[in-house]
Amino acid sequence: MSTVIELNHVKKSFKNRIAVNDVSFQIESGSVTAILGPNGAGKTTTLSMMLGLLEPNQGSVKLFGRSPKERYVRERIGVMLQHVSIMDRLKVKEILELTRNYYPHPMDMEFLIYLTGLTPKDLNRYTEKLSGGQKRSLGFAMALAGDPDVLFFDEPTVGLDTMARRRFWETVHKLASQGKTILFTTHYLQEADDIADRIILFNQGSIVADGTPADIKSRILHSSLSFLSDQDGPELRRKLASLSPITNCYDKDGRIYVATDDTDLALAAIFGAGLPVHDIRIHSGSLDEVFEQLTINQEEIAQ
């Protein structure tokens, strides 16, 4: 494993707004990384700096140990941007040939045509006549035209239907198994969780969490128990709070909730103390909640 992407204390601001603040991370070759975050978290700005489209105000961005603007780097990366735009008045085949022509070791034309999923008739149409989804598929094929080592996708599945989405991720899996490094931005949690082996969670221009999906869940996720009690009162609350596996106690939806890192231990403790509770439910946190929790916490800190 070697480092292919390296960001060191990168900062970028536009006018008075700080878009990316002191971001550092390294991406190892062969990894699949999701940059996850709500809209406006600084994902696309970070990506643009990795591609050499934007200059950081501070810090450094290196791909293969070099500036992203070097031709050496450009020949080894493939990119699909958020707004796929394709030169007009060219046929699909012509644009694929043109793009392949830019790279020293282009991808096989047959494979690219397969990736577009277009019929032979569509391949001879002008690019401006394609539907939005078809354009995105073509954009994907163009990103792969140079048989790149590193692939960048900015919100790749926005605007794709379910079928196309599945096809896309299947291909990404295949590419990952061939040892390609993949980095994509998304605001869909599920995608990051399903596809990536590492999630870098962005919020308000900073990294708030970085690790495997399981890591992030176990580190930040708090499970909880909820129950009812006929003898609710300060007495019960005091006893609950004194139990060591329980970290917090609160009310929600007319039920008593306790947060814990380990629901088994918490249950044992509650029964062991013989507390008067019934109708117990176990809630395991979802990544969705983590996402919400983290981003909300950040907002609170910011205020």
Partner: protein, 245 residues
């Protein structure tokens, strides 16, 4: 080298598949030419000379138009639609991309020149010795450089609407004040004085001199070269600033 050739080929394909090209660069000047040499009597004393003169006016009018408008608006379009961003990520050096554009533009100018010259022969029977045709064609081709520089400057604009408005206005004002629609001598004195400093007048004048058997004047070449350098510098500076974000 293969890179350059493919880029040339692609730019050519794109230009000639554009239906607006045919209309704006060919149909309009040819119709104008027909009207002012065959339909309306201009009262010119020497009809043969007038037919030659006006053929040069219309050819330079056409070429100036595609240099400013077609190039300028295309550049804005490509940027606003994100195509230029994609190109910046590919290994294709920016210089080759630009060269491809200029080459496509030059071929487009050349084909406009040939078509309109041919129309002049067919419509009004304009004849000249072969070397004069070639000199006139070469002059119009080469002296179009300052207008290409204006085109790249228009291409720095953010929105297609602005670019098309500004370039249209610029185009028409330069055409009229430069004496392309009607000879500059019939304009009011003040407008003539301004017109003579415009690149459009100098552009046309080189060709007008050529058809009379004279070489283009030094002033024509100097004024055009001056405009070329100034517009090139402004356009380079603007581009630098825009990319240094």
């Amino acid at each position: 080298m293969k890179l350059v050739l493919t880029q040339f080929k692609i730019e050519l394909l794109r230009i000639f598949r554009n239906p607006y090209y045919v209309f704006w660069s060919l149909a309009m000047p040819i119709v104008f030419y027909f009207i002012f040499t065959r339909v309306i009597s201009t009262g010119a004393t020497d009809a043969v000379a007038w037919n030659k003169h006006y053929l040069m006016s219309m050819t330079s009018f056409s070429v100036m138009g595609s240099a400013i408008m077609t190039l300028g608006i295309r550049l804005v379009q490509e940027r606003s639609q994100g195509w230029s961003t994609f190109m910046r990520i590919t290994p294709l050096p920016g210089a080759i991309f630009f060269l491809g554009k200029m080459f496509g533009q030059m071929i487009m100018h050349l084909s406009s020149i040939i078509c309109i010259f041919l129309a002049g022969y067919l419509i009004s029977g304009v004849t000249m010795p072969v070397h004069l045709w070639i000199y006139c064609g070469l002059w119009i081709l080469i002296a179009s450089l300052p207008f290409l520089a204006v085109g790249t400057l228009v291409g720095c604009m953010k929105r297609v609407d602005t670019a098309s408005g500004v370039s249209n206005a610029l185009y028409l004002v330069m055409a009229i004040l430069g004496g392309m629609w009607m000879p500059i001598d019939i304009l009011p004195k003040l407008m003539q004085a301004i017109g003579k400093w415009l690149p459009s007048y100098r552009f046309g004048n080189g060709a007008w001199e050529l058809v009379q058997g004279n070489p283009p004047k030094w002033e024509d070449i100097l004024v055009l070269a001056g405009y070329f350098i100034v517009f090139m510098l402004i356009s380079l500076y603007t581009r630098r600033r825009q990319e240094a974000i």
